[in-house]
């Protein structure tokens, strides 16, 4: 799930939330909305296990899976189709000076919504400029 990030002039830090369990759609919706409410949060990326729409092999090939966790959730006022069971959340922070403060706020949210445990890390986990592969595959010029 991705919003529309504006170009970065400098490489911004990210906070990675690693829950001990894969998150249900309801918990994902709640946690994303709470995190979007935190000051200095610029952008959120989610990673997780893919939930296919249809069966791709076997005698039921082409049938709908109808996974109850694959559904439309409302994040930051927008409808988003959740196609994964979320396993990691990357929160980009727009100000270096306030990483610690934001981390503490996010930790509080996690403690409230993830009773089964979680890990938090600060770093940079996603791509912020095109790579050689992007040039080779002509995804950029």
């Amino acid at each position: 799930m991705q919003g529309a990030p504006t170009p970065e002039r400098i490489v911004l830090p990210e906070i990675m939330i690693m829950p001990s369990r894969l998150l249900s759609a309801d918990t994902t919706e709640k946690i994303l909305n709470k995190i979007y409410g935190v000051k200095y949060v610029r952008h959120i990326n989610c990673q997780g296990e893919s939930l296919p729409l249809k069966l791709t092999s076997g005698p039921g090939s082409g049938l709908l899976v109808n996974h109850p966790e694959r559904k439309v959730i409302k994040v930051n006022g927008k409808d988003e189709e959740l196609r994964i069971l979320v396993g990691r959340i990357f929160v980009e922070i727009e100000d270096f000076e306030h990483v610690e403060e934001t981390l503490q706020k996010i930790e509080k949210i996690c403690e409230e919504l993830l009773p089964f445990g979680f890990d938090l890390e600060v770093g940079r986990y996603s791509k912020f400029k095109p790579t050689v592969t992007d040039y080779a595959n002509k995804r950029c010029s």
């Binding site: 369990r21 894969l22 998150l23 249900s24 296990e49 092999s57 076997g58 005698p59 899976v65 396993g87």
Partner: protein, 259 residues
Amino acid sequence: MMAKYERQFYPGTSVPAKNRKRFIDPKVKLEKLREIAMDDVVKILGHRQPGEDYKSIHPPLEESNEPDCPIRQMVTPIEGAKKGDRIRYVQFTDSVYFAPIVPYCRSWMYMSRFRGVDTGCLSGRNIIEMRERDLEKLAKELIENETFDPAKVGIRGATVHGHACRLDENGLMFDAWQRYRFNAKKGEVEYVKDQVALPLDKPISVGKPADEKELKKRTTMFRADDVDMRDDKEVMNMNLRIHRLRTLAGFQPWAIKGV
């Protein structure tokens, strides 16, 4: 005089090692933890409808003119082979989160306990191929006994991915095809699809999942965050020996002396 050789089945004294011994030793009767109707097992397997005749791939052995051969005299055919049943399969996926049994151990157990089984072992799943009517009985036994846990073991014919994923919020192993779900009211796991994810006419309950404390008692899994294999000297020595022999001698372990 030398002591009579007694098969040990598996080395070691740790909990997983002892559990492995129990599972592999055919003299140990495994505990039955749940009761699943045979018709429900047939539905989950999805090879035929309950009550439907078994399809055959050759005439019953009694009616066929098998050539006289010493092997045929030595080996008693299993029931399905006698009747000429098709070969069908069942496949179990075992979560790394303390599933009661691990795929490799399943293979050892099957070869040690059951006849007429062809098994294939992968990192997270284990398939059994067998004559249909024998397979159904065996699948029922394996779902009902202590090697199965509703949340940490999955019956999956295809798209088995999930054994190494984190569990979901209900403690269930991830399944992209959602063959089973957690019924929060009953606290039980229900199958809503067969092993290849074709929908069932009604949910089939396979019982309550065991808690983590209980699973750690029953598990055959060595994990760094529970019982580390390195802490069980005998197990470690056996594995190092196999590794050394394979590294130094490939498929001729007898060529190396004194290891």
